[in-house]
Symmetry: C2
Subunit: 218 residues, 2 copies
DNA sequence: CCATTACGCTACGACTCGTAGCGAAAGCGC
DNA sequence: GCGCTTTCGCTACGAGTCGTAGCGTAATGG
């Protein structure tokens, strides 16, 4: 019956201050050393705790970095700018700003790479990082449909697939731009990207500052 | 580099067979062990060469894996299917098939992550992997413009930016789908992606061919 | 035949890993 | 207050990997 009293177990409680210190030290070490040269002993020294304390709370380097990086995405919010295009640009700019930080660059790609051969790690990433981002897509899409900017969904299963697709396109494009092409996803780039996402390759070259045309439905 | 056979330096030449054996052994080790548990000593044993031979040819694990993974992308070709949509679907399916292989999953993401803090490594990746992919986008785009499916370019600098953008969108979406969402980029997904890429979010919900088409899902 | 380079092999110090053991500290129930 | 329980800091340890040096041998060009 220990399902009760989850917080009042007898014994000395874990220091919450140590948690935040360790995660902050992890991000600091990611910036200075990068993923490969980051050692748990170094993180422990930076955080002012013993190395054994780290191993008591996290299974290893992977899980620790996931938690440290996940906190970076807490600030991600969906703006309400009035139009779908503006909402997309706003959230993508936020996402790009987070990915521009060196601790995100160094950490995120590495743990995702590790997660390929570690199912539990992938689930941890999904739950603490990916799912929240996908929720933004879902919310923004629903909002656009309410405004009439996007056609409403008929099949809910089809809608879920579409949200997954959009999420992979948006997040993938920003990640690829930032980490592979290694160039900034600045306002100009985001504007071009949003234009292609909304109107496609064919419509990208046309006039697009005007209000949403009643679309000749070609 | 030595394509000119510069005066044919005296001494015993490097075994070309050893090169291919080492790269094959690297891919094999990537499949079985993944990036983090891959050691150069193990690769040397698999390839049947001495560990010192590895260090004489490659600076370290990063460079070795880049070369091993780069060979996977040699088979990438741009199909000529007659329409831009079909060309996109064809090349994306090829790219997805390569990324589905475990040695590509394990290796590519890890070396890209390492390249964030290693300028020389990033350049090596760009030259041997990324640039060839970008060329496919350039070629496909030119072909589509010739067919009249896309408007011709006016400003060449603007055109370069557009190609970079499309490349990040396409490659990023496939990579994110395969490695982050960890779901297959199969024909159905590729078809949906190509539709969004061509017509945008607004046009994607319309009935292009999703209606009761007798098209048997092969 | 000789200079030059690559190869296989062994050995080495330096480093990190993850764990075990110990005494001390900090809460909770009584 | 008094015990019980859990956490913490610290030290030490075997195991494993790293990258390099040294040596003798094999292969090629002049």
């Amino acid at each position: 019956m220990q399902s009760r009293t989850p917080a009042s177990r007898a014994g000395r409680p874990r220091s919450a201050a140590a948690d935040t210190a360790i995660l902050a030290a992890t991000r600091e070490a990611l910036v200075e050393l990068g993923w490969s040269k980051l050692t748990l002993g170094d993180v422990a020294t930076r955080a002012g705790v013993a190395k054994t304390t780290l191993y008591r709370r996290w299974a290893g380097k992977n899980e620790l970095v996931v938690d440290a990086v996940a906190e970076l995405f807490d600030e991600l919010r969906l703006p309400d700018c009035g139009t779908l295009a503006a909402d997309i640009e706003g959230v993508v700019l936020q996402y790009a700003a987070i990915l521009a930080r060196p601790e995100a660059k160094s950490g995120l790609m590495s743990v995702v790479a590790e997660s390929i051969r570690d199912e539990a790690l992938r689930e941890r990433i999904r739950a603490s990082i990916v799912e929240r981002q996908k929720r933004l897509v879902l919310e923004g899409r629903a909002r656009a449909q309410q405004r009439g900017e996007l056609p409403p969904e008929s099949d809910p299963e089809e809608a879920a697939r579409t949200v997954d697709l959009i999420f992979d396109v948006v997040a993938g494009a920003v990640v690829h731009r930032t980490l592979v092409s290694a160039e900034p996803a600045d306002e100009e780039w985001v504007r071009s990207f949003a234009r292609i996402l909304l109107f496609g390759l064919a419509g990208a070259g046309e006039d697009h500052d005007a209000a949403p045309t009643p679309e000749g439905r070609s």
